[in-house]
Amino acid sequence: MIVIKKRIGIPRSLLYYKYFPLWKTFLEELGVEIVLSDRTNSKIIDIGGRYAIDEICIPLKLYYGHVLNLLEKNIDYLFVPRYVSTTIGTYFCPKFLGLPDMVRGTIDNLPPIIEFEVNMQKRPMYLSAYKLGKVLHKSTWQIKKAYEKAIKDYKYFRQLMVDGLSFKKALNVLNSKNRNFKPKKKIIDYVAKIAIIGHGYNVHDSFINMNLINKLNKMKVNVVTLENLPLEIFKNQTVITNTLENYWGNEEEILSAVNYLFETKDIDGIIFICSFCCGPDSLIDEIMARDAKKLKIPYIGLVLDEHSGQAGVITRVEAFVDMIVRKKNNIRIIYKKPTMPIGIINKSEKEVGAEF
């Protein structure tokens, strides 16, 4: 029988930004100390990139970096769940499916990996949690109690975000053990309401997205992420065309959120963040861009990788916000027009433009 020691390392990466609140309560209730890797920094990105194969996306490179960072923290176990599917009909990308194997195959001198499969196609979430509890040698009763508390906490956490808190703030509330906190509806003065849509690990990791949310807040933009949208919109599976159902896990959420925003139109613009060489994202980027164009909702896709120049991203975002603000307030150049026409202007009424 393995004697479970207390320290379990969780990389602050990938689905940490989605399921950490759940596993946090669950593991803590089972009497485990959680050790998180540091927030993403340039050292983590460097060492992660060194270990990972070149073709892989930046979030996965970061994952290796976070694992290596944890190895310096004297942990007894490493927590690497194998996420296969969390909603019926959708699957995560293959890199999530093989994550424990990839970590094991890449990095030497690892502590034992706590590996369990989350696959809603095969078994409900509580059975996955049960398996995890059994790995930790806990009794069924202990596991049941811990899981109930974890689910309660997770729901509370999600509700906090629906009520408008950011991931970081909601996590702070969860850490404070106060379960009666109600975010106040602040009436803030903003110039535009912009949704930042993307995988949680791109949107909430301020290093990888170059502090985008803060930058937008400084420009007086009211930022909405997909977790801030009502929970019920994620319940039904999205249909891309009449015949084609989406089957990617993360993209499912993104499409649901964007479709909701397209329907309600309660948004001034949408910024989609995706990582370079993410296959599913590159497809839905195009789908969303086309739909946004039809609905005349400003949309911009930002592709991030470890080489991204900050200047280009900032210029794009600033111009995007300015464009929205000017459009919203209908700011045109009001000075008197030049009397002399300058240059020859092709005054055809027909729209004869070339399309690319």
């Binding site: 540091d38 920094n41 340039s42 050292k43 983590i44 290093f207 502090n211 803060n214 370079f276 195009e286 861009a289 086309r290 164009k293 005349k296 400003p298 592709v303 200047a311 280009g312 210029t315 794009r316 600033e318 111009a319 995007f320 300015d322 464009m323 000017r326 459009k327 209908n330 700011i331 045109r332 150049i333 000075y335 008197k336 027009k337 030049p338 026409p341 300058i342 240059g343 020859i344 202007i345 092709n346 055809s348 729209e351 004869v352 433009g353 070339a354 399309e355 690319f356």
Partner: protein
Amino acid sequence: MVMAENREAEIDKNDNLYLGIDVGSVSTKFAIINDNMELIYSTWARSHGSPIKSVQDGFKEMQNDFIDYESQIRAVGTTGSARYLTKALVGGDIAKTEIIAHAVAASYFVPGVRTILEIGGQDSKVILLENGIITDFAMNSICAAGTGSFLDHQAHRLGIPIEEFGDYAKRSKTDVVIAGRCTVFAESDMIHKQQMGHSKEDIIWGLCNSLVRNYLNNVCKGKKLLPPITFQGGVAANDGIRRAFEKHLGQKIIVHKNFLTMGAIGAAMLAREYIEINNIKTKFKGFNVGEMKFTPKAFNCTDCPNQCEITYVEQDDGTIIARWGDRCGKWTL
């Protein structure tokens, strides 16, 4: 070194003046406009590496002519990739992106403009407008093919001045296809075509076509380019590229006479708008900015593993006028 100066209107003692400065990767542009949108002064010069020096040189050029009218400057706007640095140096009122600046100026000078093709030293952009409002834009992301720097480099390699690029392209008799996917391959393909015996003229015209193709396929992907179309930024000086655009788009491409300084004019217009809407006074330091001493300095912050490189600019009196480069924001001024 001033390369292009332009004065269209005389200055009047009662005029309100608006100064716009556009500091890009390759060149520095200044423009002064008055209330009637007349161009009092505009200039374009190569940056030669240091944006601080370029801005100061520009002010030294202006100082003699405009020092007496300093109090008439009502607003100063900056744009271009060095907009924040320039704003801090001169005491600018706003710093806006080139995209907005170009669009604003073009929508005034080319009434009804629907499409702006803007190709500068290191980026290329397309801006779409409708009734004077920007509806969409795009910017080159992972590829800098077809921007001014590449053309400069190729002109140098072929041993002809960049100013004559357009004339060479015009003299071409045959179409030569140059691989335009990537500048590195474009260059090796050009060398190959030279070795095959094609003339310089044909190769240059082929290069213009391949750059335009690349721009249209990458930057303008998914966009509908409606006329009137204007072409702005430094590369618009190249008539070969303009003609290649006309060939590929089947449209008249307008190159306004202020195409080089459009960004600076736009920045001046935006500064005016900002001052008027908010009803405030300009923070402009004056034309003696050229005489002041600015020292750029840098250090590595060691407070966390990010080890950000912090840069800052010190004015001669020791005050720090700009500081940035940190990810966390604690140094940013």
